[in-house]
Amino acid sequence: MEARRTWIVVIPIVSVLLLSGCWDRTEVNDLAILTAGGLDLTEDRKLELSVKQYLISPSSSEQSGSFSSDTGGGSGKSVLRSSRGVSMADAESHLQQVLSRKVFWGQDEVFVFGQRLAKEGLAEPMEFLTRHPIPRERANVFVSQSPAKEVLELDPPIERSVSQALRKMAENETGLNITMKELAEMMAGRSRSAVIPWVEIKPGDGKQAAFAHINGTAVLKNGKMIGRMNDAETRGIMWLRNEVKKATVTVSPGKGKGLVSLQLLRSRTELIPHIEGSKWSLTVRIETRDDIIENTSEFDLSLPDHMNELERELEDDIKRRIQMALRRAQKEMKSDIFNFADAFYRKYPREWNRNKGRWDDLYSNLEINVQAKVKVVRPGLTNKSIFKPEQR
């Protein structure tokens, strides 16, 4: 009886201590929700961190008291702030001084690195971004031609913020789509080479506001940017990395003039390494299936013979695209952005371990053999071209 009475007193007291609320509690309207982060190297070699803050409750909606104003448009709902520091963590701590709300990185889905910083090296900022518990591993990374701050300053008219616009562009897979985890993996991987989508600003004219778009690829070696590949070469990179999801290939076949365009349905790239004695070589085998979407050439697509000829033409075109990217990466930049190193390790772990010290050397002299196999599965909705009287 006595014991029970004691408990009746003790339990509420303990409960009061524990039920008073969460220790790490933070209210949403105390947070500065950052949607994009940009990093630049300033003239005096400091790190400048710019962030785009998304405003959850713009003052206008308080007046009207409705949520209808929340659709589309980015007018005045995002705020840009920046701070400087000697390191990423230093800049991040100074960021709080220019923000009235508590910095919250949890929704930050885009990181843009300025070109100058990328050339100086991304290892330091990436170290912070992977170690700190809040930045997301799935955030998209970009390198921008202009300072990252200028990219973040843009307010796209369609999406809610510039971060969402960039992210959606990357996810469309016309160019590379690299997340922070993948970047870290490439930078730490056997080849020590990485690729990041390259962002450029298309300046506005009277009618159109300026907007950022992905145009090519930044190539990194040992964490430092060493060059840029243009759009066409980026396509080659994507074929080699087995990341092509969408593609339209246009060839002008040798037979007569005019063009044939194909849309890619699916594609598979296989890397087959060989080591014979001291000679290292690699076969790239690509298999694609495509649909024809346009034909202005002399080919009569209802004839199987013509179809076969067309397929050979396409194979040559794909090979050319790949060779273009290969030549620049292998001979000029000497960086293994296609991860051939992993392919060798997977097939020849022992040989790899013996030779990993001289991979750079082996890579730049690697004999690469590209094989493409194209299968056109459907000619589209029409067979013979309606507009070619001689075919009808």
């Binding site: 518990p133 997301r136 591993e137 985890k181 870290a184 993996e185 991987g189 997977r346």
Partner: protein, 367 residues
Amino acid sequence: MVIENGKISAPQIGKMIYLAVTPTAILSTPAITYQFAKQDLWISPMWAFSGVIAIWIALSIHRLFPGENLVQAGERILGRKLGKVFGLVILLYYLYLGGVIVREYGEFVVGAFLVQTPLLVVSGSMVLVCAIVVRSGVEIIARFADVFIPVFAMLFLLLIIPLLPDLHILKMLPIMGEGIGPSLSGSVVLQAWFSEFLTVSFLIPFANRAEKVKKSMAITLLAVIVTLVSSNLVTLLLLGELTGNYNYPFLIVARYINLADFFTHLESLFMAIWVLGAFVKICVFFYVTAMGAAQWMNLREYQPIVFPVGFLLLLMSVWVAPNLQELTHALSTSIIFSALTVLVCIPAALLGLAWIRRQWGKKNLQD
């Protein structure tokens, strides 16, 4: 002297042991295993030798001394004084392991989620809840295991299935490229976890049908291996060579989920798995320590010492390591050896002794 009146079934024992081994193994082992096994990380859990041995020891001891646990049997085999020493070693080790688990639980919650909260508040509140459960007896812990197993399994699948499109199967090649060695040395750290299977020795005496425990332990061991293989495989196929660099690779896996841009930021699910699992795990170790200590001191009931033992457990969690690095280091070095010594070698020696004495006894009778 009967100290515990509860009766539990063989499947319940299996579930308790499953939850007493898996949660911390999912969390802490992939990073350590990766450093040795590299891409053979997922093979390592299959080398569960110490688990098989520990189960076999526990079951053999129970066959020789039905209704008694390891510590009680030790007193019968070694005599009173030596037996007490043996019991003390085992129980102190359980207290120590309990402290390590409480610390792991707290370090993870504080390190990854509640950064500002003092460690003692997190681990203290857990120990308090566990103390209340332990006081209620083994049946209550068993029922918690019953309830949590489906939840645990569901959450685990919920974390793995949405990730399937992000996994790159090529990352697991070459399989055993450098022979069987790396995966074997990677499994060394797992042996510490598998040796925790010895805990079953403390639970069999409460089984309503002890003969069924053998089958349920076999299933449990298999389930643990399957769980660890799949969690390691997902971690590897997603993170590849980064696996060894993260303290909690499986947390990163949970954070990476993105289903239709809608189901994102699922680490709270992982947190739920972790809290549920750690809760049962701490309860089991806590219970074994408290109940064993009461038997060791010849008390009539163990309830009065639950809170003092809980306090010791909390203190032990602070004592085990000054910081996370030391804890991880200990997990990959000293704890492996101490666990294998205390939970496998010493009980095995004890079992050997019991057999020799029994043979001797028979011979003397024949003479």
